[in-house]
């Protein structure tokens, strides 16, 4: 079955460092990918998304890279701040007429030390 998973369940960095969170997906039909940040006690918050016709997309301090060949995407956070500490989820759609059905990865806990 399709799955979306993360290589590292936890990531600990120093403030100011760059963070990279990785994600693998299994469904080659997936054509839409999205990253969410979830802080404790809150709902997932949209960070950035990317469609399969792109390899890279940049936002404010964040970059998502997509490698369709190996079915891998990553989230890069520049100059990580303590406020970036949260659980990060990647998600992928099922492709085609999937009606927005997203499959979520297991999540990576990012801890930023001052």
């Amino acid at each position: 079955g399709e799955s979306v998973g993360l290589h590292l369940p936890t990531l600990s960095v120093q403030e100011g460092d760059n963070s990279i969170i990785n994600c693998a997906y299994s469904n080659s039909a997936s054509d839409y990918f999205i990253w969410y940040k979830q802080e404790s006690g809150k709902g997932p918050q949209f960070i950035i998304d990317i469609r399969s016709n792109m390899d890279k997309r940049q936002g404010q301090r964040v970059t998502v890279l997509l490698n369709k060949t190996v079915k891998h995407l990553s989230l890069q956070i520049a100059a990580t701040q303590p406020g970036d500490s949260a659980v990060y989820f990647c998600a992928a759609n099922a492709g085609g007429t999937s009606y927005g059905k997203l499959t979520f990865g297991q999540g990576t806990i990012l801890t930023v030390h001052p």
């Binding site: 979830q38 997932p44 927005g100 997203l102």
Partner: protein, 113 residues
């Protein structure tokens, strides 16, 4: 100012009871979702409605019944609650049924004792 809101935020109830969770969005979206997040933080879609029509119905016990009275509301009713139903339930919405970002509510923590 609230985008996607859910009530209640916390719900503690006993096995066998029936309960409802309400969701409202003021983003003008036409598609709404219910997700379940378990104790390991795994998020899984349960249902989705587009313009009040059910479009995603995952393998969920039929004790769970969603209802969408209009595009801005999606409620979740759960009958005969079981211990395994304890989780955080999130409502989300999006513009359109395709591949678009989904905006999540704050969640409802359901505890069944």
């Amino acid at each position: 100012d609230t985008a996607v809101s859910q009530t209640p935020k916390y719900l503690v109830t006993q096995m066998g009871n029936d309960k409802s969770i309400k969701c409202e969005q003021n983003l003008g979206h036409d598609t709404m979702y219910w997700y379940k997040q378990d104790s390991k933080k795994f998020l899984k879609i349960m249902f989705s409605y587009n313009n009040k029509e059910l479009i995603i119905n995952e393998t969920v016990p039929n004790r769970f019944s969603p209802k969408s009275p209009d595009k801005a509301h999606l409620n979740l009713h759960i009958n005969s609650l079981e211990l395994g139903d304890s989780a955080v339930y999130f409502c989300a919405s999006s513009h359109g049924v395709g591949a678009y970002e989904q905006y999540f509510g704050p969640g409802t923590r359901l505890t069944v004792t």
